[in-house]
Every structure is written in C-alpha cells, then in structure tokens.
C-alpha cells in the first residue's frame, strides 16, 4: 500500500464520492466516462467505481453502460486484405482461368480468395473463369471497400471502435465495413466492450452544487505539471494524506561494509602521515619469508599453512647482493649481531611462488626500496592462509600492515601509534601482550576493547629484528605490525559468521547501517 492509494479508500470513501460528484458537475450533461474521471482526477479506477456504486445507491448518480465493438489486429492481419492482393496480382486481364489462379497467386487453395473476389463484386464467375466487373475495374483503380479502410487504419492504431471511426474520413460506411470483417477473426478481431458512464441525477446535481457552494474547488490527489502551468492548482483543493501510512522502501547504492572499514583504516593511517604501498598477491617465498628472517624450515612455511603455486611455480629473486646478504644473515647472522639460524640457505626455496601470507610482504618490499628514515608506510590487502572455512576462518582475509622507520622508534611509540589507530577506529582501549614472531623482537599481540565484544585480539606487532632491517640497508629501528580487519567489520556490522561478508545477501547489504 502506498500513500496514493490508502487502503481504507478501497471500499469507496466519502472523500472520493465528493470529488466524483464535484467533477461531474462541470462535465457536459453532467456525464463522463469512468476512464475520463480516472484521467482527470488521478484517482484509481477501482476507487472511483467503488464510490460510484455507493453514490448510485444513494440515488445521486446513474451508472450507464454502453456496448460497442472494439476492433484489433488479428493473428494474420496485414495492411492489405488478401483479395486486394489477388486483385492486383491478376492485373489488367479482364478474364482469368480459375485453374491458373494457384500459379498467379502462389497459393494452393484459392477457394476462399475466389469467394471474396466475387463477394466484393469485383469479379463474376462464369463456369471456370472469373470475369472482372466494372466495380472491379474501379477497385483496381484505387477504390477501397469500407472493410479495407478499417484494416488500413489498424496499421496506425492498435484498436478502433465505431465511436472513434465516426470522427474519421466521411463517406465511408463503417457499419458495412465492420459487418464485412465479422467472421474474419484471423485478420481483425472484433470484441464487445462496455463503457461505463456516470451521470448525475437531479438529486446528485443539487447536492453537488450545494457542496460546491460551500467548497468551491474540486479536490485532487496528484499535483500535475499541467495544473502548475495553467494555474489550475488555484482552483483545486489537495486531498489530505494520512502521513503515518507506510510507503515503499528505497535503498541507496552503497559500498560494501568491509570496504567502509577499509576506507576508515586508510583514512586513519593517511591522517597520521603514512604513505600507502602495495605488493603482488602472487609472491616469491623470498619476500614473504626469507627477507623477514623466517628460516626455510620454519613451520609457518610448510605446505599445510601456506598456499604454494603449481602454475606458475617459481619467480625471480631481486638483485644478487641483496639476496646474498639475506642468505648470509640466515646462515650465520652476518654483520647483524646475530648468530643466525645456522643452516644452509637454499635459493630454490626462495624462488618458490605462493599466495602472500601477510601484507608484511608489501611493507618489507617498501622498506627494501627505500630504507632511509623517516618513513611511515602502510598497506591494506588480501592475504591467504591454508585454512578450511568456518564461521571465524577463511582461506583469504584482509590485513593491515604498517611500518615506521624512525630513529626514535620504540615499543612505547609503537603502542602509541596503534592505540591512536584503534581509537580512530572506535575502540575504547588498546592493550599489548608479549608474543613471539620470527621477524620482530620484541613482539607483542594487540588487543582492542570493542564495545560489547570486550577484548578482541587484533594481530601482532613489534620491532623488526636487525636480521631483517640490516640486510636491506636500513640504519635505524623499524616498527611493524600486521592487523586483522574482518573482526573490526564483524563487530561494526554485527556479523557472527565471517562467510557472510563474502557471500553477500543483498538484503543485508541494503540494510547495513552506515553509522556505527
């Protein structure tokens, strides 16, 4: 139900009744068809009829029904009747053998055509021949029978009625035309139609005039451009709406909820003076693990945790000097002050291709590209872990990684930066717990207090080990973190199953709230 058609009007309310009475008062003969009233008043036909029935019962108006023929195109309708086509094909010859007709007309059964050619009076049948009459001569010259005129008119209009035909070219016997077409269903369909007219009774007229005197203007529902252009709106009264009724819902186009959280996180880091970086999803083990001092036999690198690729299988390493320094640091710590992992580093493991397991692959590439302080870099992107799907796990998810290359970088400033970030994202408080990651030392786990969810683990952070930074030529300390994003979104949008973020229910997307 929309506001234009309030439910309580469906049975013909007094309001519509009054409008109909007032409208009829201004019509010639106080009479109008229902269709005209629908058009003029902008009120639904069912409502007008409902009101009319009530008004009739009260003796205020009469409902008159007029039956007429409505003509529409039949299945095989063509602009020219088949006998006209035949007439023209036979051409100027006065006589024609009926036996020759199938060939001339390109049809097997010519009985019907012969019938119509004679019925129209264009030919007379003499034994096995047709002989053209004078009328036939005129027809060939262009004279049209009334049924032909009607068929021709149907090319312009989808339907015709005798009522309409009376306004067409004079001198045509329309009734004869209709009579000729009756029975030729396949060419022109003729249907009985009823038109309803409403006419005020004497009593109705009196009441309408009285009401008009009290309330001179008729009431309308829809303000039309015509009313405004003609100034007619001054003469009408606008119907009062029930403004409490429900209306049809509308939904704006909008961003995905997860995307909105991504946009907020981006804004938060951009506000804090970070530059944004990116890196390929298909990554070499070198940038995903080796450059981060993850030993080549580290459990995280194993097949059960990381997606490796079969096509393509291996990539290229960066410049040799960098690779050599990284390799040496793994093997014995090189000049980093570390004893290293004490094993033989294998180039073949470093060229293996995989789906990046963290966006730290992006920040470490950024660090390698320009390791000079001061720099703040972040990356938000898809990462992949070899996990089966359930309510809290997906094989791919979004991570927010960041690094700060700064002489004054410390655990305390790491905590400060991340606390500021989560405050911007709506967390009340942030806490840190000791943890262990292969590429940071010290390492912490980050927890944020997210409203009714309480304390939620958001990810890991720490100070990059010198085994990570020194081979890349970085002279200062580097802070680093890798944080989850889905959890923030799940909290914000009340999602309990992470899968619902990616297998979207459009209704949920439509309803998801913009504000927290």
């Amino acid at each position: 139900m929309t506001n234009d058609q309030p439910e309580n009007l469906a049975f013909g309310d007094q309001e519509t009744g009054r409008v109909v009475l007032a409208a009829l008062l201004f019509e010639p003969d106080n009479c109008a068809t229902v269709a005209e009233l629908v058009r003029k008043l902008g009120i639904d036909q069912s409502l007008i009829m409902a009101a009319a029935v009530q008004l009739k019962a009260a003796g205020l108006l009469a409902i008159e029904e007029e039956v007429f023929d409505e003509l529409t195109r039949g299945r095989e309708w063509k602009r020219r009747l088949p006998e006209r086509v035949a007439l023209e094909k036979i051409g100027p010859a006065r006589t024609v053998e009926i036996a020759h007709l199938p060939e001339i007309l390109q049809m097997n059964d010519v009985r019907s055509i012969v019938k119509w050619l004679t019925k129209k009076g264009w030919f007379i049948r003499e034994r096995d021949r047709l002989v053209r009459t004078e009328k036939g001569e005129r027809a060939l010259g262009g004279e049209m029978e009334p049924d032909e005129v009607i068929v021709d008119l149907l090319a312009e209009q989808e339907s015709l009625s005798l009522l309409q035909l009376s306004s067409k070219p004079a001198g045509v016997d329309w009734a004869k035309g209709v009579a000729l077409l009756r029975g030729r269903e396949e060419l022109v369909r003729i249907k009985k139609r009823v038109v309803r007219k409403l006419r005020l009774t004497e009593k109705g007229r009196e009441i309408a005039e009285k009401a008009g005197a009290e309330e001179s203007a008729p009431e309308v529902t829809q303000l039309t451009p015509e009313m405004i252009a003609t100034g007619k709106w001054r003469e009408v009264k606008f119907r009062m709406y029930d403004v409490t009724l429900p209306v049809k819902p509308r939904y704006p186009g909008k961003e995905h909820p997860l995307q909105r959280v991504i946009a907020e996180a981006r804004r938060a880091f951009l506000e804090m003076g970070f530059e944004e970086t990116s890196s390929p999803v298909v990554e070499t083990a070198f940038w995903d693990f080796d450059a981060l001092f993850q030993p080549q036999d580290h459990p995280a690198r194993e097949m059960q945790d990381t997606f490796y690729l079969s096509v393509p299988e291996s990539g290229r390493l960066p410049d040799e000097e960098l690779v050599r320094r990284v390799a040496l640091t793994h093997e014995n710590g090189a000049d980093t002050g570390s004893i290293g992992w004490r094993y033989r580093w294998d180039k073949n493991k470093a060229v293996q291709l995989l789906l990046r397991t963290h966006t730290t692959a992006a920040t470490i590439r950024a660090l390698a590209q320009n390791p000079m302080p001061p720099r703040k870099v972040f990356c938000i992107g898809k990462v992949f872990r070899r996990e089966s799907m359930d309510a809290t796990h997906l094989p791919e998810f979004i991570q927010i990684d960041g690094i700060i290359i700064d002489e004054n970088a410390s655990l305390a400033t790491l905590f400060g930066t991340l606390t500021e970030f989560y405050r911007k994202m709506g967390a009340r408080e942030v806490r840190f717990r000791p943890s262990y990651f292969p590429y940071t030392e010290p390492s912490v786990e980050v927890f944020a207090h997210l409203g009714r969810l309480g304390w939620v683990e958001m990810g890991g952070a720490g100070v990059f080990r010198q085994e990570v930074t020194k081979p890349l030529g970085c002279p200062t300390r580097v802070l680093a973190w890798g944080l989850g994003l889905e959890r923030l979104a799940m909290m914000r949008f009340d999602v309990t199953d992470i899968r619902n973020l990616y297998w979207a229910d459009i209704n949920w997307l439509r309803e998801a709230k913009l504000c927290r």
């Binding site: 704006p252 186009g253 961003e255 995905h256 995307q259 946009a263 981006r266 880091f269 951009l270 944004e276 990116s278 390929p280 999803v281 298909v282 036999d297 580290h298 459990p299 097949m303 997606f307 490796y308 690729l309 079969s310 096509v311 291996s314 990539g315 290229r316 002050g337 570390s338 094993y343 291709l353 789906l355 001061p374 898809k382 996990e387 799907m389 094989p395 004054n408 970088a409 655990l411 305390a412 400033t413 905590f415 400060g416 942030v430 840190f432 717990r433 000791p434 943890s435 262990y436 030392e441 010290p442 080990r465 010198q466 085994e467 300390r477 990616y502 979207a504 229910d505 459009i506 997307l509």
Partner: protein, 559 residues
C-alpha cells in the same frame, strides 16, 4: 601450532606456590604464553606452543620461568651434573648422513604414568619445535638397565642387521623398516639417498635405535624405569645440544640426577654432554632502554634480567651489562632477544604509549584512490557493492559461463578445496553467483565489485600479472544491453575515459548483444553484454541480466 596440556597442580608444586587458576593464567599470559583454555576436569591448561621457546614446552620449563618472574627464584638455575662414566664412540662413515650426537644419563628417576606422558609429549614437541620434524634433531630415550654401556654410533648397511622396532613383534632390517613400518614410512625421506644408515648400539651389539626413525622394542621405557640413557642426533651440533639441554633441565627439575656422557668422534674430537655452561655477552643498556622506549637504570635492568632467569652484572666502566644466558634457551640469537625479556619483566602495561614527534606527509596509493572514485560513481548510480573471494575454480570461472579455459590461469599446488584451487581470472562469475544467491529478493538488483584478477605472466618477477577490475551487473524484468551500456558510459563520462564499443561474440553473452570496450589508445579493456538465457538457467535466474567488466588499472595507466 601444537597444543600442550599443562597440569596446574604439578605446575604449582614445581613453582612451590599455591596460585589459583586465574593467577596462573594471568602470569602465563604476561610471560607471552598463548593460553587456549582450561580443563576443569583434568585441572590442565591447554597452551599453544611458542615455536621460539622450546624451553617453555613443558611444565618444568614453565615453572622455571614463573619462579623467576614472580621473584621466587631468580638468576640462572643451578644444575649439578656429575660424570656418569658412560662413553659413546662415533665411528667413521656418518659424516654425510647424520654426523652429530650428544647424550646424557638420568638416574634416581621416579616415573609414573603422568610424568611418562609429559616426557613423551616434550619429546614429540621438541621434535617439532627444535628438531623441525626430526630433521635437525631426533631424540632417543632408553631404559639404561636394559643395555650395557658403552655405546656406539655407527653406520650400518640397509640390510645388514635386524631388530624389533618399538611396538613391533618381528625383527626387521633397516631397509624393511623404512618401507613397512609406519614410522619408517613417515621419516624415510630423512635417510633417502644414503647407502648407509646411522645405528646406535651398546657394547653387546644390542640395537638401541635407528636414528632418526625409531628405537628398538627391548630398550622401551616403562613407568618402572629408574634409569635412562638419552641421545639426540642431527646434522649439526647447535640444535641437538639445545634439545638435550632442555631435556636435561626438565629431568633435573623433576628431582632426578642428570649425568654427563663423553662422546668421542673419529678424528680425535670429543665432547662431554650435557654441558650447561651459560653463554655470556654484553648488552648495551642504552640501546635496550631506547628499544623499549622508557628509561631503566642499570641496577633495575639487572633485577629485571635476573627475574627472566639470566645472570647479569653491571660493567660500569663500559656502560654495559654482562649477561649470562642459560644453556637451555634456544631463542637468544641477538641482543634484542634479551631486550624483549627485559620489556616483559618490566611489564608492557607499564609502558606509556606515545606518538612519534617526527612529521611525515601522507601519500595515498593512486590505484586505491582510483578505486575509490569508481566506487563513488557506482554508488551514485545506485549500485550496491559486493566483495567475493579471489580464490575460485575453473568450473566457476570458465565452465559455468561457457568460456574456454586457456593456459594462463594461476593454479594452487596445495588447495584446501576444489572450489578454491585457482586465482580468479575475471569478476563476472562473482556477480552472477551473487544474483543466483539473491534470486528471490526484490528487483531491480544492481551490484558491482572492484577487485583484482590474475593471470600467468612468464615475464613478471612473480610469474603472474595482477589487475584491478570493475564489474557490474543489472538484473530486472526489463534489463538489456542498452541499460548496461548506458551505465558504463556514465562511468566513463565521470572518469574521462573515451570508450569505443566493438561488436563481439562470446559466452556468456547473447550473440549480437555483446561488445568489447576499447580505450582511446585502441586497447581492449573490457566487455559488456546481455547474458545468454542458457547461462541464466544454469544459475537458476529467471530475470534478464546484463553484465560488464572493465580493467580500471589499465585505463588509469593510459597516458
């Protein structure tokens, strides 16, 4: 990560305290343990192992840390290991196979089922954490009373000897073991390609074990065992020694007497293990405080270090702290590893978070900014954004859409499911799947996605080409080519792209109602069309759908 069960009563007994479950949980967490749960039935904590801290894999190691952290007993724990008099001789021929071995003897052992289980768990977890699944270190534990010292670590030909493996009944040769026994099958790769295998025997020629595969049945440890012989083998000495130290420290903490074994190598080299001598190094205390970001005096730092079970003295002259690291710590590779312990002892919650004073300017990624502009335009046109997964399958990406697969798809080597074994090539499948999932909901449905698609690129550093794309879909009773084209043109107008539409014929589109999108430099950068009803049927869709996809990154890079 493996999970270990830690019995709280035993933990309290080893600490010498009566901490409540909450107090224990709190202190474990403050030490960086990842406590996963508490089982009130068995009174055990379930703790996720920290790969970096094998010395915290067992209840003894945890108790050692907690005692220090709480100040009950600080500094390096004292271990008094005596000489067992047992010798182990390493014979020629294992240099390339598995050259290193260390060993210890344990006496005065009072085992029970619980302790035996804890020891077995520790052994398994050390195999995982330090041993890297037995590659770097493999442990053998034997009932000493069932063998006769001295011991020999020697090469053996694959079929030269037979012994009954642990838990087995029939004697097998090493070769048979590797192919027939489950443990042999699991670890045979560690001996693959060698003509001889390592074998540990006693004076009488009894087999103790075939490292790193399996022990013999007749040296099996039971709850009645009072004396143990332990060996650790591996390709280098660091990991095997650390493994042995952690085991020795655990037995010592349990009140057993640990004794050393002398190992003699072929070229006259020998060592006595376990040698719990700490490693010393200098800690730059100024650097340590600046990493942490709060001033800590040298005296305070020494106290903090001792609480983390280091010994430490201040070297005033050089403004350094002399730190001794207990032998069982396997994670101290760099001075900052010690700095982390200082921070933990100091208390992370006591650190005052603050922002860096350095000013830097922000710099958004151009591609992300472009994506945001496209997103704004699409939402302005009334479209709802969806996000689908990057992982997909050839069935979803090609077969269902009637597209022929070429050779340029990125395939995973080890997928978890067949639905997710390639990286997607286009975004259209995600749009159609979303319509399919939502086929009963109100129309019109106008959706879009901005995401990456992938293909093999042999010239690229990472072997693959990644491209940011935009796909859009419209579903309604009266949707067709004209509608989607008009949306695409609206987007192009906003973004100042000049599109030419080239008639094209390709599934999943209806012939004559599909076009390629050409950019101003004549490069093809997209496709659009009305979806073939044959495809709609496959997705269970009963309304017309029109789709388009364009490569926005390519368009962005046109000069």
């Amino acid at each position: 990560m493996p999970v270990v069960s830690i019995p709280a009563p035993l933990l309290n007994r080893l600490i010498g305290s009566q901490l409540t479950v909450d107090e224990l949980n709190q202190v474990l967490t403050e030490l960086g343990c990842d406590v996963e749960g508490w089982d009130a039935q068995t009174l055990t904590f379930r703790i996720n192992l920290l790969p970096a801290r094998p010395d915290m894999f067992d209840v003894c190691g945890l108790a050692r840390c907690i005692k220090g952290y709480l100040g009950i007993e600080t500094g390096i724990p004292k271990f008094n290991f005596t000489d067992s008099g047992v010798r182990l001789t390493v014979k020629n021929g294992l240099e390339d196979v598995r050259p290193y071995i260390c060993a210890a003897v344990v006496r005065n052992l009072r085992l029970n089922e619980e302790l035996l289980k804890l020891l077995m768990d520790l052994q398994e977890n050390l195999h995982w954490g330090l041993g890297r699944d037995r590659r770097r270190a493999s442990i053998g534990i034997y009932d000493l009373s069932k063998v006769e010292p001295e011991f020999f670590y020697q090469p053996v030909a694959p079929s030269d000897i037979r012994f009954v493996p642990l838990g087995g009944e029939k004697p097998l040769t090493p070769k048979e073991l590797l192919t027939l026994h489950p443990k042999g099958q699991a670890y045979q790769h560690l001996l693959q390609g060698f003509s001889v295998y390592p074998l540990l025997t006693d004076r009488a020629g009894r087999v103790l074990s075939l490292p790193p595969i399996i022990n013999s049945e007749n040296t099996k440890v039971t709850p009645a065992t009072k004396e143990l012989f332990i060996d650790v083998t591996g390709p280098e000495e660091w990991a095997i020694k650390k493994t042995l130290f952690i085991l020795a420290a655990a037995f010592s903490d349990l009140g057993a007497l640990v004794q050393t074994v002398k190992i003699e190598f072929p070229q006259g080299k020998s060592w006595i293990t376990p040698d719990m001598k700490p490693e010393d190094f200098d800690l730059d205390s100024a650097e340590a405080t600046s990493v942490i970001g709060t001033p800590i005096t040298n005296g305070e730092m020494v106290r903090l270090l001792r609480r983390m079970r280091y010994d430490a003295t201040v070297d005033e002259k050089h403004a350094k702290i002399r730190v001794s690291v207990p032998a069982y710590r396997a994670d101290i590779m760099h001075p900052w590893d010690v700095v982390e312990d200082v921070a933990i002892a100091y208390g992370l919650h006591r650190l005052q978070p603050r922002l860096l004073p350095t000013a830097t300017t922000s710099q958004p990624s151009p591609i992300e900014e472009l994506a945001q502009l496209c997103r704004r335009t699409m939402t302005g046109l009334g479209f709802i954004e969806i996000m689908s997964l990057n992982l997909s399958s050839p069935e979803a990406q090609f077969d269902r859409l009637g597209i022929a697969e070429d050779q340029r798809t990125v395939y995973l080597k080890n997928p978890v499911s067949i639905e997710q074994r390639i990286l997607r090539r286009h975004l259209l499948a995600g749009i159609l799947e979303t319509f399919s999932l939502n086929s009963t909901l109100a129309l019109p449905q106008n959706i879009f996605e901005i995401g990456d698609v992938f293909q093999v690129d042999p010239g690229a550093e990472t072997g693959a080409f990644q491209e940011r794309c935009l796909a859009l879909g419209m579903a309604d009773a009266k949707i067709g080519f004209a509608e989607i084209k008009s949306v695409l043109e609206a987007l192009a107008r906003e973004m100042d792209w000049q599109f030419t539409f080239i008639p094209h014929q390709q599934m999943p589109f209806l012939p004559g109602r599909c076009a390629l999108v050409q950019a101003q430099n004549k490069r093809t950068c997209g496709i659009l069309g009305e979806v073939h009803p044959q495809i709609l049927e496959r997705y269970g869709l009963t309304v017309p759908v029109a789709l388009a996809e364009i490569e926005i990154e390519t368009l962005f890079r046109i000069p």
